[in-house]
């Protein structure tokens, strides 16, 4: 049974990673119009990547949008979670339903709805012309719910008396908030922020409808590329990005695994 499940896991993970390995391998392929057929080993796409302004611009837009919207979503989401936590049951239900909406609403529908909204708003307020700003707004909107959802369970575990004790001991509400509440829910805030960042980076559908002409994200650029013959520079970029994340996660994982073994050793003692 054990071996059977192990074989199964290996097969599934193999399938999951096979296309990714293909992308990585073919980023070193020299063929241009048939990038998925092996010709010769070459680093030319890595060289060309750093001259390809379209891709580099898209990368910088993507990172900027992800950072800005993560920051905004984390602040709005944290405040919202605390506020919702303090509400009565009925109101809380309403707020959580609203919160769930962007997550269950199909992305195409959200994208189209954003597009219509921004086009309508731009007629009155030129700031809303589709571009970097609208991209950020859209991203904040679909990222915030993830932050709220990560913080809510943490708030439920907190002890409300701690906050009141801090007030009794002379803290102003603001001080109590920063010294007691925030540290208690910090893990939730961090995972929420991480999720928001990932979601923002990964998003295609909503960016596609809201990006306008001046600020295209990586996935929108990639979309326009897969429609014409793909320039293999993008494989090179993806390989670099994937490699970076892989290394970061590996480091984090090693850290955590060490943590676990330390904990279990202590427990044994």
């Amino acid at each position: 049974m054990k071996t059977l499940s192990r074989i199964y896991n290996v097969i599934i993970f193999g399938l999951l990673y096979f296309p990714i390995i293909m992308v990585i391998v073919f980023s070193f392929n020299s063929a241009r119009y048939t990038p998925m057929e092996w010709k010769d080993f070459s680093l030319q796409w890595y060289e060309k990547l750093f001259q390809n302004e379209e891709i580099l611009n898209a990368l910088s837009v993507t990172l900027q949008v992800a950072l800005i919207s993560t920051l905004a979503a984390t602040v709005i989401g944290t405040l919202a979670a605390i506020g919702i936590h303090a509400m009565n049951r009925k109101l809380r239900r309403v707020m959580l339903t609203i919160n769930n909406f962007p997550m269950v609403n199909p992305e195409v529908v959200s994208g189209v709805a954003f597009m219509l909204l921004f086009v309508a708003l731009a007629a009155v307020l030129p700031v809303f012309k589709p571009g970097f700003f609208t991209l950020c707004i859209a991203h904040v909107t679909f990222c915030t719910p993830y932050v709220v959802l990560q913080i809510m369970p943490k708030l439920r575990q907190t002890d409300g008396r701690l906050y009141e004790a801090a007030l009794d001991l002379g803290c102003t509400p603001l001080q109590a908030f920063f010294k007691v509440t925030i540290p208690e829910i910090l893990p939730g805030i961090l995972t929420g922020a991480l999720m928001a960042f990932t979601m923002s980076l990964d998003d295609f559908a909503i960016s596609y409808f809201t990006a306008g002409s001046s600020a295209q994200t990586l996935s929108v650029t990639i979309y326009s590329m897969v429609k014409r013959p793909v320039t293999p520079e993008i494989y090179a970029l993806s390989t670099l990005l994937f490699g970076t994340v892989f290394v970061l996660l590996l480091l984090a994982n090693i850290g955590q695994v060490r943590d676990i073994s330390r904990r279990s050793k202590r427990a044994r003692r």
Binding site: M115, V119, S214, K227, R228, P229
Partner: protein, 383 residues
Amino acid sequence: MKRWLALLLCMVMVLNLTACSSAVPEDATEDEAEDEVIWDWESLPAAEPTGITLNVYNWGEYIDDEILDVNSAFTHLTGIEVNYKTFDSNENMYALLSSGAAEYDVVIPSDYMIGKMIEDDMLAPINFENVPNYTYIDDEFKNLEYDPNNTYSVPYTWGVVGIFYNTKYVDEADLEQGWGLLWDEKYSGRILMFNNPRDAFGVTAKYLSDGDKQISLNTTDETDLWACYEKLKEQKPLVQAYVMDQIYDRLINNEAWIAPYYNGDACIIMDEDEGNPDIDFFVPHQGTNKFFDAMCILKTTKHQEAAEAYINFMCIPEVALANAEYIGYATPHTAAREMLDEEMCNDPVYYPNEEILARSEVYVTLPEETTRYVSDLWLKLKR
């Protein structure tokens, strides 16, 4: 007039004087034949940044970014940044622009779409004083039906639609069917088809006009269009995929053998190194579509002069030459055509002969109801 515009004009004059001397450097090896220096713009002084960014919207693979690297040259010489994006069909481009979800300054649509955009008041008249290189454009391509007084557009390329086929797998005898080749059950699963309603219906209309029954590419008759739809529906089981620029990969990899497309793309598809030399191109006897793509300025632009400078830049002989060589589509630019590789100029694939042109038709802008009807049928086809 702005300083950079003046600078650019000077540059053009200097260029014309030195055009003859800037031929192939002698030490160019065979390998690097492609890297011939047509115009060494990098040695010219860079203009100071103007802070202007021009948004340019063009077809995919439709500008030289290797020989001269046109956009970089423009930025280098004028200090105007270019934000260059691509579309893959006139319809998509139009939908995006008319939705207001994106703003561009310069756009390069085809004939009938230019007509439609003029009707919709989306284009700005061009001040031809700022586009002196317009004189290079062959008179044959001026004042065409889609822009009768030539106020809104400067021709960029022209061409015809034909069929790319793989000589290894497709019987030469079957070419006699003309467009019927696309309906030949022998090649089921190996046929690609246009993924836009206008070209798909146009090709079908030509296929249906055998003998005395002629259907125009521009038919507005609903029974004719319905007949085209039925024919397309009949073809659907044979079609491998409805694609636009993805035909490159599929033809080159031998995945597909037959595909109707624009003649200029032969230079990618039939390229000896990177393409597939087994592929050939022919224009069916039933007649075809002749198209013009032209540069226009959108009404919403805030940089009309910069946009005009860009268009003028595209008409500099060296730039036009680089574009014509790189993208392969026929150029309406007289000076570029003179300098162009003779082999290419005399190749009937790129520059179709009179006989082919005589049986081709140009798209005109269809009335709103017809466009709507065709796109309804198109969506029906894809159910």
